[in-house]
């Protein structure tokens, strides 16, 4: 349907938009997190809530804040889901079952937004507003807070493991970054056709005399933060393919820009905060290269349309919207899987085998290109440390990054981080594929069935949330297991990152010398890309060979 030139032109428009956002947003965020002043409204809030926003927390206290806050978030959301039928604005949605409620509560608190349910019928407006949308803000803010703590750890010297104040980081992210952006974007989305009301779904008679429901709901306000916070949980089942969530090609571009904006701007924030903007450029460059590679491959796959069905149909249009076509769908799919967003404007299960494989691999890289809000940057920084370690040895010095030595304890934390997510993905997939309960959910036969299960656990453990949605996951088996995968996939890496932040903050910064390996040059960036592809990628090659690769080559 689309031509390569149109695909390239759309990508260029997107890149220009991102480039325009990168500098001001990155700089603004750096100011937010380095400013000593609290806004008046923030100060009033802290006083009312009896929270000390100025206590410089040790990493362990910071982690306890993160975990404590996330725990009450899960419990609160679980309560809302279980009780929603008793609450106002429920529009007839029933209470969720325990396994489903657990899955969804974890899903939104972990920024995954994996959805086993259909929003149209399973979630009332109040749950969407006060439950899901709130966590869309907060889970994004928690991710950003954690990466800010890591950046502080790198920037500070001899700070006894103190990495900042979680409450202040959380509140500032919400009040100064996410909320203002969301208000503006929500209104723009309404203008483009995204609905924003509190009505119930109302039946009407169609032109041809049939019946159809007019959907209601506060969609625009949720759609904005869904993309800005790289959440991806759709108000409706069809997510960003739904005309009420993503009505036009322009809103589609806007949504892609939004889901990439903060992740691609954080490297600049990082560069400013560590006092060397070139470091930020290097990170953004690596993220951009990996993203561009994925976009290129996925676009090529969808435009070429290999596979028997696309060949029979004439193009890979199954599961894609006419207004987006193959190019904008591929661009969205590559971007949403690169960013841990998981919003979709096409059905990934129906992507070509190669395209679906790229989507899976994108997530398996650990959501670093550019990844989720905060989590993308800290995931990338962890890989930077792996690369620095190997490169540092190769230049004959104890590896160091930004003046911080990478010793045994640092590398242990990093190794555990690198190990954690693949362990969850592979174990979860193996358990599901080896059990009847797991196999029962598979829709497509053969290799593609394996891909469906692999996609589910990859998406959950990497907190992406998109799906090969043919897999029936509304069962207690999948809800419980995937909930566990999301929880571990979020908080184990976070704990390791904060421990790493504490180690770095404790260390004194070593001044660079001519013998220090420069980490802002293309050579190192190239090595970092290789490390991401080889060290992370190698883990998944066998299972990919049996899933998407076998299917793509058939």
């Amino acid at each position: 349907m689309s031509t390569p030139w149109i695909a390239v032109a759309q990508i260029l428009v997107l890149v220009v938009a991102l480039a325009a956002v990168h500098v001001p947003l990155g700089g603004y965020m750096a100011r937010v997190f380095t400013s000593a002043r609290h806004l008046r409204v923030e100060r009033a809030g802290y006083r009312a809530l009896r929270v000390d926003p100025d206590a410089d927390q040790r990493w362990s206290t910071y982690l306890m804040s993160v975990l404590g806050f996330s725990m009450v978030s899960v419990l609160f959301l679980y309560g809302l889901e279980r009780l929603q039928n008793h609450l106002p604005l429920s529009i007839g949605a029933p209470a969720m079952d325990p396994a489903g409620a657990w899955n969804t509560a974890v899903s939104f608190v972990t920024n995954t937004d994996w959805q086993w349910y259909s929003g149209e019928t399973a979630a009332g407006h109040l749950l969407q507003m006060a439950g899901f949308a709130v966590q869309n803000f907060l889970s994004a803010a928690v991710g950003i807070a954690v990466v800010v703590a890591l950046i502080r750890g790198l920037a500070r010297s001899g700070a006894d493991g103190r990495v900042g104040n979680f409450w202040s980081d959380l509140v500032r992210t919400v009040v100064r970054i996410l909320l203002p952006l969301s208000v503006v974007v929500a209104v723009v989305l309404i203008a483009m056709g995204v609905i924003q009301n509190l009505s119930a779904h109302t039946e009407l008679t169609t032109l041809a005399g049939g019946t159809q429901h007019v959907l209601g709901g506060p969609v625009a306000s949720q759609e904005a933060i869904k993309e800005i916070g790289t959440n991806g949980g759709g108000f409706f089942n069809a997510n960003s393919a739904h005309p009420f969530e993503n009505p036009t090609p322009l809103s589609n571009l806007l949504e892609i820009v939004l889901l990439l904006a903060i992740p691609f701007s954080l490297p600049r924030t990082f560069g400013i905060m560590v006092g060397d903007r070139r470091q930020g450029w290097a990170i953004a460059g690596v993220m951009g290269t990996l993203w561009a590679g994925a976009v290129g491959l996925l676009t090529w796959a969808e435009l070429a349309g290999p596979g028997v069905v696309p060949a029979a149909a004439g193009a890979a249009m199954e599961g894609k919207e006419t207004r987006f076509g193959t190019a904008a769908s591929a661009l969205f799919a590559a971007s949403t899987t690169s960013t841990s967003t998981g919003a979709v404007n096409s059905m990934h299960d129906s992507l070509t085998a190669a395209g679906g494989g790229v989507a899976i691999f994108n997530m398996q890289l650990g959501e670093i290109s550019p990844g989720g809000t905060g989590s993308g940057l800290y995931g990338m920084l962890v890989l930077v440390i792996v690369a620095v370690f190997i490169a540092g040895l190769m230049v004959g010095r104890t590896p160091e990054y930004l003046g911080k030595k990478i010793g045994r304890r640092e590398i242990t934390l990093v190794a555990l981080y690198v190990l954690a997510t693949p362990a969850i993905v592979l174990t979860g997939t193996a358990v599901a594929i080896a059990t009847h309960a797991g196999q029962a959910g598979i829709l497509n036969p053969g290799s593609h069935g394996l891909s469906e299960v692999l996609y589910a656990f990859t998406s959950a453990a990497n907190n992406n949330g998109s799906a090969f949605a043919g897999l029936t996951v509304s069962t207690p088996f999948y809800n419980t297991l995937l909930g566990l995968a999301m929880l571990l996939g979020r908080f184990v890496p976070m704990a390791l990152v904060l421990a790493l932040a504490g180690r770095f903050a404790t260390q004194r910064t070593v001044p660079p010398s001519a013998g220090t390996l420069p980490t802002h040059r293309p050579l190192f960036a190239g090595l970092l890309i290789a490390v991401a592809l080889v060290v992370v990628g190698l883990t998944y090659i066998p299972v990919l060979a049996l899933g998407p690769i076998a299917e793509a080559l058939s």
Partner: protein
């Protein structure tokens, strides 16, 4: 030997002493309670105040869009399903509807419920090598070709594939053009007029590059109903 490697526990500082399990539990409990207070406050701000404020602005400034871009049978905009003086709403300008029979332009196949069911949006989720889907596509191709009286090989891809949302309001211009002869014949209209109507409804790419050229089926069919025979 190195000075940079001072163990963190060796520096006594405010709250910096190594934690015992007991003090950890106390610290975690304190942080959790603080978390609950912050969560409740932010829920009021983000979960109530924010969506209501946006709703207020939306309803005030863009009432038509905020309520679903509803149309009446004569094509005018209404902000409520109940409609207005022009009659009740017959659907949303953004949401596709089922049209069957030779007098209508047909939308794409839909996997939403029995077709264009807004309460069950979604795609088929069938994979690129799925034999069932392959059979379905071949079946649709034959069927569409027969209906529209064209060579099966010319049937465009969107006519034989289900969309992502199941509510796709659009079809490709190629598919719209393919249906012109059938619709014109069924409605007793000159082919040229129907063809011209289709061309009027072809929307190009936004800014020349975004998305794909398309025809809104509901808008086209609405225009068809107002066209004198």
């Amino acid at each position: 030997m190195t000075t940079s490697d001072v163990p963190s526990s060796s520096i006594p500082a405010r709250g910096g002493a190594p934690r015992t399990l007991g003090s950890s539990v106390i610290a975690f409990t304190r942080q959790t309670w603080a978390g609950l207070r912050v969560l409740l406050a932010l829920t009021v701000l983000l979960g109530i105040a924010y969506p209501l404020a946006v709703t207020g602005v939306g309803q005030l400034v863009f009432p038509w869009q905020a309520n679903g871009s509803l149309l009446t049978a004569d094509g005018s905009h209404v902000a409520s399903p109940a409609g207005n003086a022009h009659g009740p709403a017959i659907g949303s300008a953004l949401i596709g509807q089922s049209f069957s029979g030779s007098t209508w332009f047909h939308p794409r196949p839909s996997a939403a419920g029995t077709g264009y069911d807004t309460l069950a949006s979604g795609g088929s989720n069938l994979g690129p090598t799925n034999p069932t889907l392959l059979a379905t596509v071949q079946e649709r191709r034959a069927q569409v070709a027969a209906e529209d009286g064209v060579d099966p090989s010319t049937v465009p891809p969107d006519a034989v594939t289900a969309s992502a949302s199941g509510l796709d309001p659009d079809i490709s211009p190629a598919y719209a053009r393919e249906q012109v002869a059938r619709v014109a014949a069924a409605r007793g209209l000159p082919v040229a007029r129907v063809a011209a109507l289709v061309e009027q409804h072809v929307r190009g790419r936004t800014l020349g590059v975004l998305g794909e050229p398309r025809v809104d089926v509901l808008a086209l069919n609405l225009a068809l109903t107002t066209m004198a025979p």
